[in-house]
């Protein structure tokens, strides 16, 4: 048990994320009230939560992929493609909602499978494999779609527009996915093996784990969730768009949310809970800055500072992971020293 070390050093990284989220909440509430608005109004809370859902879907998937020791840069393009397939298949016909959703998710899963197979079987690092896959999809989208395409029917658009009280349906679905991802990670063999493969691939191999399987699974789930994000975007926009994903910058933003949530970029350590905290922090920052009507370029500066500071804090904590035996000023309160003194006579 670590008894000494500062209060800060004793917190887990997940606790720090939520502490920072709380701090953001307080600072945000104060700042927003200075311009005469209420941060906690039903409308504003609903708007923050809406902001969490698209990024949330993608960041959950990204967490799984990063934990497995890979990376997915193709998510924004998968989301764009998904919005186009959904809007195109549905074509404003309520009867086509189910086939539209299934086709979209099927296509996303196939892309994820391709990503996973390239990473696991061809031994291409996830960064390169998914960068390539993203370029392929982006090229396809750019040549075949010049603008928005298709239309989603009203019944489908309601998913993106309604909520239970201030909580949007989309956020509830996102949280349900988060719950399933946690169940997968902590209570199934697949989840345990995913941590093992990301933590140390040779340990996983000598323990008899089929090391391809967790990596491929993580990529498929990640693409599926990017597909979900695309569906949600199609529902909100009412149409499919070839650029909706890349405009959101979801590739790097999702990685940032995952890392902000305390997950090790090298894999093997991290939680979905932490990622959700990271997503919440970004959503609140966005909301505060748009309510305050801050220059959009400054938004990116703030996001950038938050990410760098967070990761610097985690890096420091990784170095000082050993409790001190003596305080740096003197041994006065160190129990080891007292024991030694008691022995002395």
């Amino acid at each position: 048990m670590k008894q000494r070390g500062s209060f800060f050093d004793r917190l887990s990284s997940t606790q720090i994320v939520y502490l920072v989220a709380l701090l953001t909440l307080i600072v945000g509430a104060v700042l927003v009230s200075t311009v005469g608005r209420n941060f906690f109004s039903q409308g504003n809370i609903s708007s923050i939560l809406t902001g969490t859902s698209v990024l949330g879907f993608i960041a959950i998937g990204q967490t799984l992929v990063i934990l497995a020791g890979s990376l997915d840069l193709s998510v924004p393009y998968v989301a764009s493609l998904a919005s186009l397939i959904a809007a195109g298949v549905m074509a404003n016909n309520p009867g086509n909602v189910l086939p539209g959703v299934l086709l979209t998710l099927g296509a996303a899963a196939i892309i994820g499978l391709a990503n996973g197979l390239i990473v696991a079987r061809l031994n291409v690092h996830g960064f390169i494999a998914t960068l390539g896959m993203g370029l392929i999809i982006s090229g396809y989208l750019a040549t075949n779609f010049k603008g928005s395409f298709g239309q989603t029917p009203l019944s489908f658009r309601l998913i993106g527009a309604t909520g239970l009280g201030p909580v949007p349906i989309s956020t509830i679905i996102m949280l349900a996915c988060a719950g399933l991802a946690m169940l997968l990670l902590h209570r199934t063999r697949m989840g345990h093996h995913l941590y093992a493969v990301g933590g140390d691939i040779s340990v996983a191999r000598t323990s008899g784990i089929r090391i391809d399987l967790p990596v491929i699974t993580a990529h498929v789930i990640c693409s599926l969730l990017a597909g979900m994000a695309g569906l949600l975007l199609a529902s909100r926009l009412g149409v499919g768009s070839p650029t909706v994903g890349s405009q959101g910058g979801y590739d790097l933003l999702s990685i940032a949310a995952v890392v902000l949530g305390g997950t090790l970029l090298a894999g093997g350590k991290g939680t979905i809970t932490g990622t959700l905290g990271g997503v919440l922090i970004f959503a609140m920052l966005d909301n505060i800055m748009s309510v305050m009507q801050i220059n959009p370029f400054l938004k990116d500066v703030v996001r950038g500072v938050v990410i760098v500071v967070a990761v610097a804090v985690y890096a420091r904590r990784r170095i000082v992971n050993r409790p001190e035996r003596f305080s740096s000023k003197g041994p006065a309160e160190a129990p080891a020293a007292q024991a030694a003194r008691a022995e002395a006579p």
């Binding site: 209570r187 093992a196 992971n321 035996r325 003596f326 000023k329 003197g330 041994p331």
Partner: protein, 525 residues
Amino acid sequence: MENPGRTGEASIPGGRPQGSADPPPLLEVRGLTKSFFGIPVLEDAHLTLHRGQVHGLVGENGAGKSTLMKVLAGVYQPDAGTVLLDGREVSFSHPTKAHEAGLSSVFQEFNLLPDRTVAENIYLGREPRRGVLVNKALMNAKTAELLESLGITAIRPTAQVRTLTVAEQQVVEIAKAVSYDARIVSMDEPTAALAGAEVELLYQIVSRLRERGTAILYVSHRLRELFDLCDVITVLKDGRVVSTGPASELDDTRLVRLMVGRPISAFFPDKLPPADSGADVPAQPILELHDAGNGQLDGISFSVQPGEIVGLAGLQGSGRTELLHAIFGAAPFTRGTMKVEGRDVAPKSPREGVRARMALITEDRKAEGLSLNQSILNNALTVIRSVFPRRTGTARTEIPGVFSSLEVVARDLDQEVQYLSGGNQQKVVLAKWLAIRPRLVLLDEPTRGIDVGAKVAVYRLMRKLAAEGKAILMVSSELPEVIGMSDRILVMRDGRLAGELPAGTSEEAVLQLGTGARTAPGGGT
């Protein structure tokens, strides 16, 4: 909690003696041959293991011990030869096949995930389930039971492996090996990272396993352990078995002679006369510490004279490595004074330490001492190039001479260090530090995991440096080494100096100071 009696899978079927008359040996290896890139590393090796027997396997680095172990573990496939388990021929295409047959291995490198719990590590790949979900309660209970059966109660199944001591991690590693219903456990230098009382823990586990009828293949460089633990000792040399027989028929001298063809007296070379005998050197200490301390150390006062080799003994975690790091500036002192050749020096970083002409040979050469995928020459020039760039040219011309005097065996200086044996890698680390012409040499476990021949080379080098008037401070967990090489021995305990002992003291005296025991600790070794 709710599962007593249903956890038999994790324990060993030791209490089931087979009634058959004159059973075949548990494991028999015949004519095993293996070569890499055309170079034979194992030739016609044979080995026989019986139930409840501890079988020692010794030899210099490169003698083929690790290769033999890895063939048995299913990591390598042999080129020729047979492995018989219970009289039936087996071959393991994958480590899991070996596990299924009841043959587990504990390798030198830790095979644990530091960010996962003890139970998650032990049952990795075989997590008990209820339906599709992992049954964590059962997994933790089985782990607790397994550890208890090895006599370990201090390790919680839910503890993160990162938070355990090195010795505890080693125990977890062994528990993991045993958990595969192992009838044979092979261990590659299980005590390499352990000291003093921690080794006792390992002895205890080994004897528990032996009582259950488990056969143990025990690889070690520490001769003392082999005689303490083993029933039979097999000696490998250059890939061949040169001797196999009861441990009681061997002694240190004969064992070393079998391994290297050299008598043990060559082990610790004699002191050399000072190099510049004419000039009377002003006896100013090279290093002086007065009441120095930081977060891990307190009240450290001692000095080291030119030409002196001072040994630092103590248990794992007693602060020996931390002391070297503090002197070098890697984890600086926060109080007290430190002088180098009479001048106040307080290095706040390794760079400042090097500028004060100190060298630190770290205990983990692969992680902290070498860039494994770079050439020998690049490694040897790392320090001088970054701290004294103008002297790089001179150093470069001296390197070949240094290597030949250290007897480095390598194809050429462009060879990547990862392909060198442990002993040769260590010599590269030493050469790298000698290039700065240090006044104070800090050695942390300088002979860990290297063969006897390389050890002797390191010892000779230490004597030579001392004769040149350099001061040497050496941390070692091998007591014979500390006692055989040091002019004085400082013993550490709980971050403080527990006392000083003269050259040629007894191992018992060092242990007594290191553990704080008032009387000799039981004479268990």
